[in-house]
Symmetry: C2
Subunit: 387 residues, 2 copies
């Protein structure tokens, strides 16, 4: 087990009816900017619940934050925050709205020459503060409601970049499973796959004797496999949605990654597939993960066998068969949720994708994987398998 | 799953060599009171490491906090803290030193008529602040390093009482597994049993559809069963001790109890056995838990079967056999660590203990269990089984 430093100060307010408690956690005299996406919160009742809860607060609004929040949209919000001297942000939505709010929080509070620098080299900047913010989660998937991570897209340059900073842990996050009742089945499916792959990125590397972290990672994987059918029930089932919501948060709240190596190859490749082809984030993960596991099966072998046994009750004969079985079960789980696991299923040419993504990584000098051994040519090889 | 509100702001600084990082987390200009126990930290090098790390700080000392920290000892520390205007506390030790420090933190910072009121009716008091404190953990067991709980003993009246308050989450806790190398085997054993029973109190009730919390609880139980032999190795094994330390913290950091019913019958009875007979905390748990599970086996049956299957790979035929098997495996695990599971093994008459403890609960009007159905006569029945 490696040394680590861990602190997660986000308050979780969980359960049906929780939005009504909002006013207790938003500072009384704050000028609040409520940020949201395409407007689904106006039709599913969440907007009304939030506004009702904040009726004694001074509230401004900023809607229209896209899935894969766009840099140029966020610049407009930053201008509003500065101009109006907003001192509390409330993100109401899924990971995109929350990620966008994190970027706004830092870019509006700190003097940075070019806000894009936050995405490209945050560690060289003097980040001293952040505009405090809370979240009301409506789409469980990214874990952004209880972590310091953010992913921002820049459509003008077809880029999608991530940053992480301890100042952007949400002050609180309201998790009411009933806010997910209006989600289309495809988004619940995407959320489950996203959470699953988050855990895999932190777990599927090589054993370092971290018994506690391994069991905790497997716990949430097992929970996701068990809850998936319940979460996808129509009409929605409260327990299914509650477990889905809490599992997605726990999948990426920085607990299970402490003291262990991490991969994140699948996410890095996936981000480029969204940038180039517009696939939803979870869709990109499902067309990449199985092939990363297969391509690196020798180095990930011990962990693949452990995973296959503990999560999938694997019974194949011999180590190599166990490894293949674990990868196949993973892909079958995604497919069982109605999620394609090949680029070709989306009409994307794997050879073209391999070329585009590997070229970009070559330009940036990106090397991936827990061993830093996945070079641009390996990325191309991985993507060529996705057919 | 029930609604819940969760926030755990404690920073964990984990791994060998971590004590050297202390000065970064103790406020620079603070007058620091270092609190410790019987002096083992002076022989195992921990005291020297702490003082070296704090050499630029103004430091006072208060040693002699007992196992099961005594109220009268803590009153002396409170006097010192007030007299010297101490503004940061550093607990160096196990759960007793940390629990004592939490009590000092509240009693010295708030105007309370009688400090004992903090133990008997904290919710009626106006607790507005706490003297901030950190911890350097040397005996993993209670989870006090990452929770807001404290248990204080008052030898003068043979009482042992608990309190919990969100103001007494440690600001940080340094967890260096090497600090445990000098522990006698009996204390490692006690720590493992304590952590195990902490999880059982939060888990072994009845199913409420909390898939995530159940899997997370089982994860730490599984980890404890697997790590126990490694943790008890002599000479000490770093990975064994690291997993033991992190498991004990995760067993009671308020994550797995969110949204689920809790029991705590075993702890409540156990506290009285320490107060009357001086048994170590973990020793009391091992002589009570199996009989609580047996006595309440009908109401806990579904969860007992689930636990037996997931933690012990139970194979007995039929539900009642599965329930018995799960209880037997639990007692056998304790016994395998060299931990007795009967009062008679300590020369204590179960009938006398039954009388004494149930009388005290009758006087206090104490009723226990997740269904509030364990009355003083039930406590007597449970203790009579411990033979």
């Amino acid at each position: 087990m490696d040394n680590f430093i861990f602190r997660n100060p986000t308050r979780i307010i969980f359960g049906k009816g929780s939005i009504a408690k909002l006013s207790k956690y938003v500072p009384k005299k704050a000028k609040v900017l409520v940020l949201f996406g395409g407007g689904s919160i106006k039709t599913n009742g969440v907007y009304d619940q939030v506004m009702q809860a904040l009726k004694k607060h001074e509230v401004l609004e900023f809607g229209g934050i896209e899935a894969n929040p766009d840099y140029d949209t966020l610049l407009k919000a930053i201008k509003l925050v500065k101009g109006e001297k907003v001192d509390f942000l409330l993100a109401v939505g899924g990971g995109s709205v929350i990620d966008g709010t994190k970027f706004i929080s830092l870019a509006a509070a700190n003097k940075v020459k070019d806000p894009w620098d936050i995405l490209t080299h945050i560690n060289d900047l003097k980040i001293k503060k952040a505009i405090p913010f809370g979240t009301v989660l409506t789409l469980p998937a990214t874990g952004s409601e209880m972590n310091p991570n953010s992913v921002i897209s820049r459509r003008a340059t077809q880029e999608k970049m991530a940053f992480s900073h301890p100042k952007v842990y949400p002050k609180f996050s309201v998790l009411d499973p009933e806010t997910t009742y209006s989600l289309p089945a495809s988004q619940v499916r995407n959320g489950i796959v996203d959470a699953f792959v988050h855990i895999m990125e932190q777990y599927m590397t090589y054993p370092v004797g971290a018994i506690v972290q391994d069991r905790q990672a497997e716990a949430i994987l097992l929970a996701l496999v068990e809850l998936a059918p319940k979460a996808m029930q129509d009409p929605p089932d409260y327990e299914g949605r509650a477990n889905y919501m809490w599992a997605a948060t726990n999948a990426l709240n920085k607990l299970i990654c402490q003291g262990v190596p991490q991969d994140w190859t699948t996410h890095n490749i996936g981000h480029e597939l969204t940038a180039f082809y517009g696939l939803a984030h979870a869709e990109t993960l499902a067309v990449v993960l199985p092939y990363v596991l297969w391509y690196k099966r020798d180095l990930k072998g011990d962990k693949l066998v452990q995973y296959g046994k503990r999560v999938w009750n694997g019974t194949a004969n011999g180590k190599r068969a166990r490894m293949s079985e674990a990868i196949e079960k993973t892909a079958a789980f995604f497919q069982g949720l109605g999620m394609p696991t090949t680029l070709t299923a989306y009409g994307i040419d794997p050879d073209e994708a391999a070329l585009k993504v590997s070229q970009r990584f070559a330009e940036r000098g990106t090397v991936l994987g827990e061993h830093n051994d996945i070079k641009p040519e390996d990325v191309a090889n991985i993507l060529r398998l996705s057919r």
